[in-house]
């Protein structure tokens, strides 16, 4: 039954910034680097991206038409990392966590996006989608 565990996304980049600087660039400075043209609802209409630096804060995009939430801050612990409830995928119960650890003169930045059903869920579809969903909901509520 455990074959339906979520398969998380894990990405790592190394930067020359110390963790504190890297953390600031990722959060407070998100508007300076986030690829809004391709990674947003509004695309080129996006005028700003905001990361509110506290637990319960919102991460959202702004266009002339208004604001669109991307996530809600679940933990905010500079320079170590932060965790977001990812609202774009909220119905999938997804969570995004980014950690910053010292590595040489810079930092290792690790992003994990978890809470997706495993691609093998398709294989279980005929046999027991109910069981898959039970685990799925458990993750979504966890």
């Amino acid at each position: 039954m455990s074959t339906t565990a979520t398969e998380e996304i894990r990405k790592t980049v190394l930067v020359d910034f110390a963790p504190a600087e890297a953390f600031d660039l990722f959060t407070a400075g998100i508007a300076t680097w986030w690829p809004v043209k391709t990674h947003s609802y509004g695309g080129e209409a996006v005028t700003k991206v905001v990361f509110e630096p506290q637990v319960g804060g919102r991460v959202y995009e702004i266009t002339d038409a208004g604001e669109q939430d991307w996530g809600r801050v679940q933990s905010f612990d500079p320079p170590n990392g932060f965790k977001l409830e990812w609202l774009i995928g909220k119905s999938c119960g997804t969570e995004v966590e980014v950690t910053f650890t010292p590595e040489g003169p810079g930092s290792r930045v690790v992003l994990e996006h978890r809470g997706f059903t495993n691609a093998t869920a398709r294989d279980n579809y005929a046999g027991g989608w109910g069981a898959v969903l039970a685990q799925f909901v458990e993750h979504a509520q966890g």
């Binding site: 660039l25 119905s91 909901v137």
Partner: protein, 102 residues
């Protein structure tokens, strides 16, 4: 096959997310879904059409009614979408860090 943009658009609407949440509990008819939501049956049908076009739900006939359920392939697609989404986003982040490092 849907594009991933439409998957995001489909889940960007609060009512559609609610419908999707309800379908996690198992297959439901339009009437059952409408009973649990503050929207009309035609509105539910409309939202289901969008979710279906995005590959997130599928339907089948069950006697005289039509049942909607979550399409697991749609979620696998969403995961794959975010896999490249974060890869590209982090590349941009690293580029900016290099730029500021000067």
């Amino acid at each position: 096959m849907s594009t991933n943009g439409s998957v995001l658009d489909a889940l960007g609407d609060a009512t559609r997310r609610q419908i999707f949440e309800l379908l996690k509990g198992g297959p439901r008819s339009v009437r059952e879904l409408a009973d649990g939501l503050p929207v009309s049956r035609p509105a539910v049908s409309q939202h289901l059409r969008v979710l279906k076009e995005a590959g997130l739900v599928s339907d089948r006939k069950d006697g005289t009614r039509r049942l909607y359920r979550i399409e697991p392939g749609g979620l696998a697609g969403l995961r794959d979408y975010f896999d490249s989404f974060w890869g590209e986003a982090l590349d941009r982040f690293a580029d900016q860090a290099r730029k500021e490092q000067g």
